[in-house]
Subunit: 364 residues, 2 copies
């Protein structure tokens, strides 16, 4: 049987650097654990624009549809700010999400013990925090039509459309309930049903999926503004949060920042099962392309390495191998190995991106 | 000349209790400072629904259009959760905002020295924090058409529309720049121009208003997700933040919670100048109706009292009187007077809503 396939799209900024470390990890698993992958690489974002004039070529899109998992680094950079909306680096990422139909974006917000001091929040508020934000990723205001800038009464009007169908809400709700069953058995759904009709439908459908299919999971509903407040006040009250594309964008970023571990957080974007039973999937770190430190060996590769760990778990059913990789990361942190972003006000000597990768390989 | 007029809409939950204390303060100013107002009262929210079957009657709406300032308590409660969207308590509030055309919602996020320990954030991250969020309040996805729940391909679809015209963006941008000039001279504008065309227009118009009318104010732009992160990480980097209705809803709530002073934060919603030169205006606390503690004398009246202080400042040009009232509040806090919400884990004996009001009057 052929090895499972992975397409690496390193992208822009620190993407290529952190991905180099992930490749070391992938190679280690092939050599030492007999867990081999067929790895190919291609371009996305500004890097693709520079070569093809588009942030994702049709050929790359077709490859992404065929592999078992895509690993993405990061996209974007100041150089591309002047580009037209339609060819900006972000469009490459959004095209992958949409055409692969990756509707369920899993964003763990986890506070690593060794790093609890890094949070801007008090230690007791975040220590041990482990929540999972499930963000709908293929619909809502990100993709709704009509959209654009039109002229009306002699002035321009900017328009976007929030649109959710029942089945779009159902499938992401199921994904949240399934996850909750394997975690703390609690789901909190967030919308603005007090203001938006799409929020009313969201709340009603999530409640129905719960009542019909997951009555044993504890379900609550919260307005998204109150959700933002509660995430800042007492994040540990949550287990799984399910929300739409736009609210998920803000809430998951806020939650990630609260942990103090932004350079550490991975994400998985999952779609429907393919013929081989594996879900369509893309894995990427939560952090961006960080153009200010790109190419200097300063970036923290852990978020990207943990994204590969999520791939082991969710695409390849290799939970034990994922545990092994996560334990190696925790060990290295416990040993005090720190990239520059993980140094507190006390300072210390940072390791480089590639030294961090090497230490993790050693710990494996 | 007739006294300036104020319409009090105490609303639901703790609204009436906290408003009772505001009335004491208004009376004090009339008696002791010769700053007299013509005060009338009426119903809004669930309280109005109970009497009129709608959360704001046409008569009350007409009165609100005529007075110099509206003071609003809070709306909503579990009793009204079952009501149809169109008559929910919130619709009363939204109708006031829309028909009075209160496009500029000022939400200070301020950390009171005496309360810095209450924040879930580390003290050095929030101590001395003083930012102003200017939220567009009459447009965007809150009011855009088309909206509703329709049936398409045999399933329901929830739809809302984000819509901003150039002139809507211009006027709220001006309001933010004007405020910045009287504060730290810095504005950060937040949107999702990387994903939404309405965000592209937003960014462009704010930049143009800046370049043409306020080149001396420092302007930056940030994606709203990064903004949520930065508010959690290092809120003191901001002076004035300007953003749209929906982002403003989440971001201002998060910012308010970060200060640890939720029961303390007022807001002002301002529109165009009336014939007498005063802006159309409504003032309300940021906190909600808190049905769980309503009627028990536990609520903190300070947010509502400080909302009246904003009225003194922004509607009546009585900055010195506003300073006096704010100083009285700070004195009472410094003296250790605390409502239940302001007691930390160490405990202590809380004062009641009306005792807090009395202490503030004494301090005046
Ligand atoms: C880069 C951008 C298009 C993207 C988004 O808005 O979804 C990012 O913020 C994210 O959260 O993955
Ligand atoms: C009560 C609700 C309609 C309102 C809003 O969403 O604007 C509230 O959250 C606020 O921020 O004033």
């Amino acid at each position: 049987m052929a090895n499972p396939s992975i397409l690496i799209l390193a992208g822009d900024g620190i993407g290529p650097e952190v991905m180099t470390e992930v490749k070391k990890v992938i190679n280690w698993f092939g050599a030492k654990r007999d867990v081999a992958f067929d790895v190919s690489e291609d371009l996305v974002g500004g890097a693709a624009y520079d070569v093809h004039g588009v942030p994702l070529s049709d050929e790359t899109m077709a490859k992404a549809q065929e592999v078992d998992a895509v690993l993405l680094g990061a996209v974007g950079g100041p150089k591309y700010d002047v580009l037209d909306f339609s060819v900006k680096p972000e469009r490459g990422l959004l095209r992958l999400r949409k055409e692969m139909d990756l509707y369920s974006n899993l964003r763990p917000a986890q506070c690593f013990d060794a790093l609890a001091d890094f949070s801007s929040l008090k230690k007791d508020v975040v220590a041990g925090l482990d929540i999972m934000i499930v963000r709908e990723l293929t619909s809502g205001i990100y993709f709704g039509e009509p959209r654009g800038i039109i002229v009306e009464n002699n002035e321009r009007v900017g328009i976007n459309t929030q649109r959710y169908t029942e089945s779009e809400i159902e499938r992401v709700a199921r994904s949240a309930f399934e996850l909750a069953k394997r975690r703390g058995n609690k789901v909190c759904s967030m919308e603005k049903a007090n203001v938006m009709e799409s929020g009313i439908l969201w709340r009603e459908v999530v409640q129905r999926v719960h009542d019909e299919e997951y009555p044993e999971v504890e379900l609550s509903h919260m307005y998204a503004d109150a959700g933002a407040m509660q995430l800042c006040r007492a994040p540990k009250q949550f287990d799984v949060i399910v929300t739409d594309n736009l609210f998920g964008d803000l809430l998951s970023d806020a939650a990630a920042m609260l942990t103090g571990s932004l350079g550490m957080l991975p994400s998985a974007s999952l779609g429907a099962p393919m013929a081989n039973g594996r879900p369509k999937a893309m894995y990427e770190p939560v952090h961006g392309s960080a153009p200010d430190i790109a190419g200097q060996g300063k970036a923290n590769p852990i978020a990207c390495i943990l994204s590969f760990s999520m791939a082991l778990r969710y695409s390849f059913d290799l939970g034990a191998e994922a545990d092994r990789l996560e334990a190696a990361v925790e060990k290295v942190l416990a040993d005090g190995v720190r990239t520059a972003d993980l140094l507190g006000p006390e300072g210390g000597v940072p390791v480089s991106t590639s030294e961090m990768g090497d230490k993790i390989i050693e710990a494996l």
